[in-house]
C-alpha cells in the first residue's frame, strides 16, 4: 500500500502537498476549498503587525512560452492586508474544522525582538502546527526593512529564527530568499538560530516584462512599474539546486526542507523529494489552474511510488542526493556519442543546424538515393553534449550511447591535464 503521508519537521501531513504562503492561502474561504480539493496543508498568507498593509492595483505580470502558456508569474502583492485578528480567528476555526490538515502560520516583522516574539506567540495561540518566518519577499516589504532585507543578512536570519524559537515551542520553518549569492549562508544561519526546517525558495527578484507601447515595466500601476517576486515553472531549476545543496552539505545536515519553486506536477514534487525535501509547497500552479490540480499531484505521485516500489515518501527522500556532487567529482573519462534513429527521424534538420552553428560540427547531411535527407553523427567530432538530443522534436529519436573507453574514473583534480594537480604532486 502506497502511503503519501509524511512528517515535515515533526509535523504529520496526509500528503506532501501544502499551499505556500501566498494569495491562495489568504483566508478561510480559499484554504477550505483547498482542503476540500485534497491539499495536505497550507501555510497561511504572511501575517504582520496591525495595522495591515495596503496593496496596489494591479499586482501580477506573467512570462509566457511561445505557445502562450504561462511559465512564470511575477507578483508585487504584499503580505496579508486583512486585520491580524480576523486571520487568527479563521486559522483557529480551520484548525478545529480540519483536524487532519496542517496549518502553518507565516509571519513577518521588522528587526525587532519584541515584534517577532509577540507576533509568533499570537499566531501560535491560534493553534498552528508551526511557524514559518517570511524572510524572502523581494518587493515592497524589503523597502520597509522586512522580507528579503532580513533574509539577505545571515546575522538577521539567525537572530529572527532564534527569537521565534525562544518565543514558541513549535516547529520553526525559516523561509529563505533565493536572492543571495550562496544559499548555504542563510541556510546555515537558520540552522544556527535553531530552525527545524527551511522553506525555499521564496520568489526571485525580477522584472517580468516591459510594455513597449507604454515604455513601462509590468505589472503597471498607474503608469509605473516595479520589480517583483518571480515564481512558477521557470524558477524550478533554481529551487532544485538550492534544495540539493542544503540537503547534501555537511553544515546543514539535520535541517529539514519544505521545498518551493515551480512545482506544477507530481513529477516536480518527486524531484524535490529525491533531492532531499520532506514535503513541498505550491502556489503558482494553483493560481493558474485552481486547487483541483492537487488531485493528479496525489494520484501521479502514488502511481510513481507504486511503479518504483516506494512504500512511503521516506523511501525515496534524498535518494538522488548521493549522486549530486561537485563538478570536480565527475568522471573526466566518461564518453557519450549521439545516435540518430533513422526510422523515427523526420528530417527536420534541427540537430544539424544546432550542432553546425553552435556546437561541434558533428552532424552530416547526405542526400538519400530515394529522396530526402539522412542525418548522421560524425563520431570523431561528437563530444556527447546532448544538445541535438534535447532539441530534436521527436522523442527518443536521438539518444546518447555510452562509449566503452576502458579508462578509469578520473576526476579533474586527478586529471593529467590539470596543471594545478601536477604541481601538487
Amino acid at each position: 500500500m502506497t502511503d503519501l503521508g509524511c512528517v515535515i519537521a515533526g509535523v504529520d501531513s496526509i500528503n506532501p502537498f501544502w499551499l505556500a504562503s501566498a494569495p491562495p492561502s489568504d483566508k478561510k474561504y480559499n484554504v477550505e476549498r483547498a482542503f476540500k480539493a485534497g491539499w495536505g496543508g497550507a501555510v497561511w498568507k504572511t501575517l504582520g503587525e496591525d495595522p495591515p498593509v495596503v496593496n496596489v492595483t494591479s499586482r501580477y505580470g506573467v512570462h509566457r512560452s511561445h505557445d502562450r502558456s504561462i511559465i512564470g508569474i511575477n507578483n508585487i502583492e504584499l503580505i496579508s492586508d486583512r486585520p491580524l485578528e480576523v486571520n487568527l480567528r479563521e486559522i483557529e476555526e480551520m484548525r478545529k474544522e480540519w483536524p487532519d490538515r496542517v496549518i502553518i502560520g507565516s509571519i513577518m516583522a521588522p528587526m525587532d525582538e519584541g515584534a517577532w516574539k509577540s507576533l509568533a506567540v499570537k499566531v501560535a495561540n491560534a493553534g498552528v502546527h508551526g511557524i514559518e518566518l517570511n524572510l524572502g519577499c523581494p518587493h515592497g516589504m524589503c523597502e520597509r526593512g522586512m522580507g528579503s532585507a532580513v533574509g539577505q543578512v545571515a546575522e538577521f536570519v539567525e537572530q529572527t529564527t532564534r527569537w521565534v524559537c525562544e518565543a514558541v515551542g513549535l516547529p520553526v520553518f525559516t523561509k529563505l530568499t533565493p536572492n543571495v549569492t550562496d544559499i548555504m549562508i542563510p541556510a546555515a544561519a537558520a540552522k544556527a538560530g535553531g530552525a527545524h526546517a527551511v522553506s525555499l525558495i521564496n520568489t526571485v527578484n525580477s522584472i517580468i516584462s516591459v510594455d513597449l507601447d507604454r515604455m513601462t515595466p509590468t505589472p503597471i500601476v498607474d503608469g509605473r512599474g516595479t520589480h517583483g517576486g518571480y515564481c512558477g515553472e521557470a524558477v524550478k531549476p533554481i529551487a532544485l539546486h538550492m534544495t540539493a545543496e542544503i540537503a547534501r552539505q555537511a553544515e546543514t545536515q539535520g535541517l529539514e526542507i519544505s521545498a518551493i519553486g515551480g512545482i506544477t506536477t507530481w513529477r516536480d514534487a518527486a524531484e524535490f523529494i529525491a533531492l532531499g525535501a520532506s514535503g513541498v509547497q505550491v502556489c503558482t500552479a494553483a493560481m493558474l489552474y485552481g486547487f483541483r490540480i492537487v488531485e493528479d499531484m496525489n494520484d501521479g505521485l502514488a502511481a510513481f511510488m507504486r511503479e518504483k516500489n516506494y512504500r512511503s515518501i521516506e523511501d525515496f527522500k534524498g535518494k538522488a542526493s548521493a549522486q549530486t556532487v561537485d563538478w570536480n567529482a565527475l568522471n573526466m573519462n566518461h564518453d557519450l556519442l549521439a545516435r540518430i534513429d533513422q526510422d523515427s527521424c523526420i528530417e527536420c534538420g534541427r540537430c544539424f543546424i544546432a550542432c553546425e552553428d553552435t556546437s561541434h560540427q558533428a552532424i552530416r547531411i547526405d542526400a538519400k538515393p530515394e529522396g530526402g535527407r539522412k542525418f548522421t553523427v560524425i563520431d570523431d567530432e561528437c563530444v556527447g553534449c546532448n544538445l541535438c538530443m534535447h532539441i530534436c522534436p521527436v522523442k527518443d529519436c536521438i539518444t546518447m550511447e555510452a562509449v566503452d573507453t576502458d579508462r578509469p574514473y578520473v576526476t579533474w583534480p586527478e586529471h593529467p591535464k590539470n596543471i594545478a594537480s601536477k604541481a601538487a604532486e
Binding site: 511561445h66 502562450r68 523526420i346 527536420c348 534538420g349 544539424f352 543546424i353 522534436p393 521527436v394
Partner: protein, 451 residues
C-alpha cells in the same frame, strides 16, 4: 472540410443561401489560432516545405515571425519571394506542395497550416495599409512591355519595377489578375481579393496597365520589340480544347472557365443560371471549381465525368473530397460520345473507357445522362496565331533556363510556357525569375554600351 448549403429538396436555394455559399472557403485564422499553429512549426533547417514551394518562400522564417509577433515582417518575408502570396495562400494546393512535406505530419499526423498562416500574415499587411513594403531601385530609363496582367505578367512587372524599370502591361480583359480574377472558384477569392491584390501590387509604382488590348489583334510583337526595351509574354492559354463530340455546339455545352468567369463577375451570384442536371467533363482543379460552384448555385444533380480513375485526376485529393462532401457525383472511366437535344442540350451520351496495356481506350458500352448544362474542363491551349516567329514547342512557347524565347529581348512565363505545374504559384515564380533574367540582360547591355 467546408459543407456548403446544397439543394437537397426541389425548391432550390434562396439568394441569401447562395451568397453565403460564396463566402470564404476557409475563415481567416484568429490571432490566437495563428499563434498556436505557428508554435507547431519545428523550424526545420533547409526546410522541406520551403523546397516544395515553387517560389521558395522561407516558410520557417515567416512562421517564426508570426510567433514573435512581427506579423508585418512575416508578410514581407512571404511577399519578397511571392508578391501574390495572398492569392497563393488561398488557391495553392498546399496539400501537394508545402504542407505535403511538412515534417509535423510525422509527429502529429497533420501538417502545420502553412497556407492559412500565410494568409493570416499577408492579410494583416495588406489591411494595415501604409506604404508599399518594397522600394524601387534607381530608375534605369528602360521601359518594358508585358503581355497579360495575370499572375506571371504582374509578378514580372512588380519585380522589374522594383529593379528600376518602367512597365506597361497590356491585357485583353477589362480587369487585371488573369485567372486570379476570372478563373478560380469565387469562394477561394472572396471579397474581391484579386482586385485588392492587384491594387496592392501596383503600389510599387512604375507600372501602367492598358486594358482591352490583345496580342495579334491590337498589338504586334514586332512593334512592341521596337517600342520597348524588352517584352515579357504572360498571355496564358486562351484557346479552348475541343472534345470533338457530336452536338458539342449545342446551347448549354460550354467551357467551365467561361462558367467560372460568369460567376466571378456576377454581383448577385444567385442570378447565374445553372440548371438541374449539370455535367462537368474533366479531372483537374478547374473541373472541381466548376462542379462545386454549380452545387453552390443550387444545381440539384452535378456529375463530374472523368475518363480515368480518381488517382489519375490532377485535382488534389483534398479538392476531390470537397466535391464529394458537397454532393458532386463522380463518374469515372467514361468519356463523352455525343450531346443531343432540341435546340439546347438535354442529354449526354457517354462511352465507358478502360485501360488496355496501359493505353486508354473507348469500349462499346455506353450510357446516357440527362444534362441541361455541360461544362468542359479539359484544358486550354496556346493561341499560336499571335506570336509571329516565336519558336513553339509541344504547344507552348519555347524558352531557355532564363525564360528567354527564341526572339532576342522577348521573355515568356506562366501557363504559356512549359515550366512546371499550371498553378498560380508557378506563374508567379516564372514572372519573378524572368524579370531577374531580363534585368541582368539589360544591365549587361547597358554596361557593354557604356564601354
Amino acid at each position: 472540410m467546408r459543407h456548403f448549403k446544397i439543394n437537397t429538396e426541389s425548391k432550390g436555394l434562396t439568394p441569401q443561401e447562395v451568397a453565403e455559399n460564396f463566402d470564404d472557403l476557409h475563415p481567416r485564422l484568429e490571432p490566437a489560432q495563428a499563434v498556436v499553429d505557428a508554435a507547431r512549426c519545428v523550424y526545420c533547417y533547409d526546410a522541406p516545405c520551403m523546397n516544395a514551394c515553387p517560389t521558395r518562400i522561407d516558410i520557417p522564417k515567416f512562421i517564426h515571425q508570426i510567433r514573435s509577433g512581427n506579423i508585418g515582417g512575416s508578410a514581407k518575408t512571404i511577399l519578397s519571394q511571392n508578391i501574390m502570396g495572398g492569392t497563393c495562400a488561398r488557391a495553392c494546393p498546399t496539400e501537394v506542395l508545402c504542407e505535403e512535406v511538412c515534417v509535423v505530419h510525422h509527429t502529429e499526423g497533420a501538417p502545420v497550416k502553412i497556407g492559412e498562416l500565410q494568409r493570416y500574415a499577408v492579410d494583416h499587411l495588406m489591411e494595415a495599409g501604409g506604404d508599399h513594403p518594397f522600394t524601387r531601385a534607381p530608375a534605369t530609363g528602360r521601359i518594358l512591355a508585358v503581355i497579360g496582367a495575370g499572375p506571371a505578367g504582374l509578378s514580372f512587372a512588380h519585380r522589374a519595377a522594383m529593379m528600376g524599370h518602367e512597365i506597361v502591361v497590356f491585357d485583353a480583359k477589362p480587369k487585371a489578375g488573369g485567372l486570379n480574377e476570372y478563373g478560380l472558384a469565387a469562394y477561394k477569392m472572396a471579397d474581391d481579393f484579386a482586385q485588392r491584390e492587384v491594387a496592392f501590387l501596383l503600389g510599387i509604382g512604375g507600372i501602367r496597365i492598358e486594358f482591352g488590348k490583345s496580342l495579334g489583334a491590337d498589338l504586334m510583337l514586332e512593334e512592341l520589340r521596337s517600342d520597348f526595351d524588352g517584352v515579357f509574354i504572360g498571355a496564358g492559354l486562351t484557346n479552348s480544347q475541343s472534345l470533338g463530340a457530336e452536338g458539342e455546339d449545342l446551347e448549354g455545352v460550354r467551357d467551365a472557365l467561361d462558367f467560372i468567369e460568369e460567376i466571378r463577375q456576377a454581383k448577385d451570384k444567385s442570378k447565374v443560371s445553372v440548371g438541374d442536371n449539370v455535367i462537368i467533363i474533366g479531372g483537374g482543379n478547374t473541373a472541381i471549381d466548376a462542379a462545386v460552384q454549380a452545387k453552390c448555385l443550387g444545381a440539384r444533380n452535378v456529375t463530374l465525368v472523368y475518363r480515368r480513375g480518381p488517382e489519375a485526376m490532377s485535382a488534389t485529393g483534398w479538392e476531390q473530397d470537397l466535391a464529394t462532401a458537397n454532393g458532386v457525383a463522380m463518374r469515372f472511366w467514361a468519356a463523352p460520345k455525343s450531346f443531343s437535344g432540341s435546340g439546347k442540350v438535354e442529354r449526354i451520351s457517354l462511352s465507358e473507357t478502360e485501360l488496355n496495356n496501359g493505353k486508354l481506350s473507348v469500349t462499346e458500352r455506353s450510357f446516357e445522362l440527362p444534362a441541361d448544362l455541360v461544362l468542359k474542363a479539359i484544358g486550354q491551349k496556346l493561341d499560336q496565331s499571335a506570336f509571329g516567329d516565336l519558336e513553339i514547342a509541344d504547344g507552348k512557347i519555347a524558352v531557355d533556363e532564363n525564360y528567354r524565347t527564341s526572339v532576342s529581348g522577348v521573355y515568356a512565363g506562366g501557363d504559356c510556357i512549359a515550366s512546371g505545374e499550371d498553378l498560380t504559384v508557378q506563374a508567379v515564380e516564372d514572372g519573378k525569375q524572368a524579370a531577374i533574367a531580363c534585368d541582368a540582360d539589360l544591365r549587361a547591355a547597358m554596361k557593354g554600351a557604356a564601354k
